[in-house]
Symmetry: D3
Subunit: 131 residues, 6 copies
């Protein structure tokens, strides 16, 4: 159960509806997902978060699927239940295959292991890695 | 300062040298980096970690640069100093441009923010994300 | 489902009942919440945790609401489901308004983002911050 | 050592200088701190991060000192070296006393402990905490 | 709900069945637990993870119960719901008493608190701890 | 550099000296380590933390070395630089061999990997693990 109410479109202020409309139009979906309904309690945060997300995730030097894979990697490492589900779905919507999903997980698992070993051993950084 | 000694090639057992040789050959470098020298205190862990890493990071459904970007994302989220330096360097060696690095960071930052917001709000997962 | 049983007042030892009684009296509530019932498996930990919590959270240089906001911030960052729910409720009981909740979340989200960026960039600490 | 170069004002583009100027003016300081110099490699991220930070940290339903205390709490929990130093300094600049700093730390320490205990025990959330 | 399907023995490839058979034989159980069924989407990761786990957790310089206690400590700190449940059960199966479970939790809680305090205070490492 | 001054014995209040004396006597060491000097800014936290640590770490259902191994596991997972160094040293002082240290690290690394995989796959908990 959420720690704030979910604001539905029918109950939203014009300011919130404008953001919801832009999300629906940009993503071509009939309704926004719960994350945005929860953020709608704070219209300023809703607007800023959506606009930043749109800017950060648009195609650039990295393509949208690569960005979603990175998003999933961070969400798994932060153990964000909602984000793992929503961004795994988003990655699939952008074309992530089952094989890519499994390799993504293998890299996340491997990195988690060597991260822990490096931290435990307090390995000094090699000079060639300090550019 | 490391919590275990760094084993140099000259002081290594044949078992350790065999792994060091394979790392040097595979990566075409004159010496292994400190992570492997620290792991060499436990030849079994050294061998297994290297063989797994080689298998996980080889080209597959995801290309090596994408895998390194994911590795950096996990390492940043786990706050592993050594791993951030070594895998940022590895990503550059695989062709990561400055623009790609900056977009990688922007996605990591954005994901960290929405992860925190989703967690704080305990947003219930939408049914369409549960495949 | 808990990894240890929840001890109800009726089944508790005199030592545990004494702590439960103090919690109920201090907070003016009819029953203790599940956290204390789970801790009651270890009466020593139960007593010490309650006494420390009482001491740490009492009004001092910081007022109780500010302390609860800090508690929520840590709980969100540690992703503790139970603690987010219980301390968000506690903050509300101490007067946290909806507007304050939203600003609390905005700060947590912003800090999470700049934390990730600083960690990724390994920004050296400016001398003026080292007092 | 940073994983990206620090951009000094003298070497910055007009777009970056405009943000640097706003930071210096807003905070009444002669130079921006290293975080902004590192972000300046990505002018878009620099601008967005600064504008969001300014908006999030301005006085609102919560006062600026309370916001800095929350920022420190998140930064400690995320173990961000740079952020702990810079935001502890910022909290002091906003009037945090030594006594308040110590209570802030006591709450962070206590929350970290009860977070771990709640997570280990998988305590079910009490119905009264689910609003 | 899992982000990948759970592969049952009846539907598994010969390669997956061979690993499932080894898990069942080694642990003397009628069916593998869900973790392995989820990993079975990626036979290579399934095989490698099982073989490494078997090697790492076998009796050595540390006994199997001590290894399970360490596994629980890491899983609690990483807040892995599944792992807390499965490894608390595994520790019990290896003889962990209720008193040992409570002391394990007390140490985890205490370490979490002093970790947070040390991080917040940025305590410099004493020379005698640097071997 | 610490975010609070380190209080030396010569400059300490009688209340702080009493705790320092107890630490030195209990551990049979000539001076307390920096963690306690930093905590001494808050005599109440110093006293409570020391007394709790003494109680939690004393021999009980788990022996002191096992408790130190668990402490290291939590500290590595929380990435606490100071705590990794001080508790690795404490474990060595309690008899941890090089082989035990390496197995400790192997378990921490393995747990970190399966934690990440379980979290990413959102594996549902098997009924037999819910006691």
């Amino acid at each position: 159960m959420a720690t704030a109410s979910l604001i539905e479109y029918a109950d939203a202020s014009p300011e919130v509806r404008a953001v919801f409309d832009d999300i629906k139009r940009t993503r071509n979906i009939p309704d926004v997902n719960n994350f945005w309904k929860a953020l709608a309690n704070h219209p300023e945060t809703l607007k800023r978060t959506w606009e930043t997300l749109k800017e950060v995730m648009r195609p650039g030097a990295l393509d949208p699927l690569t960005k979603e894979l990175i998003y999933v990697a961070v969400s798994v490492t932060n153990n964000c239940d909602y984000c793992i589900h929503s961004h795994t779905a988003a990655a699939r919507a952008r074309g992530m295959t089952a094989a890519q999903h499994q390799e993504l997980l293998a890299v996340i698992g491997m990195a988690s292991q060597t991260n822990a070993l490096s931290i435990a051993l307090k390995v000094p950084v090699d000079p060639q890695f300090l550019c």
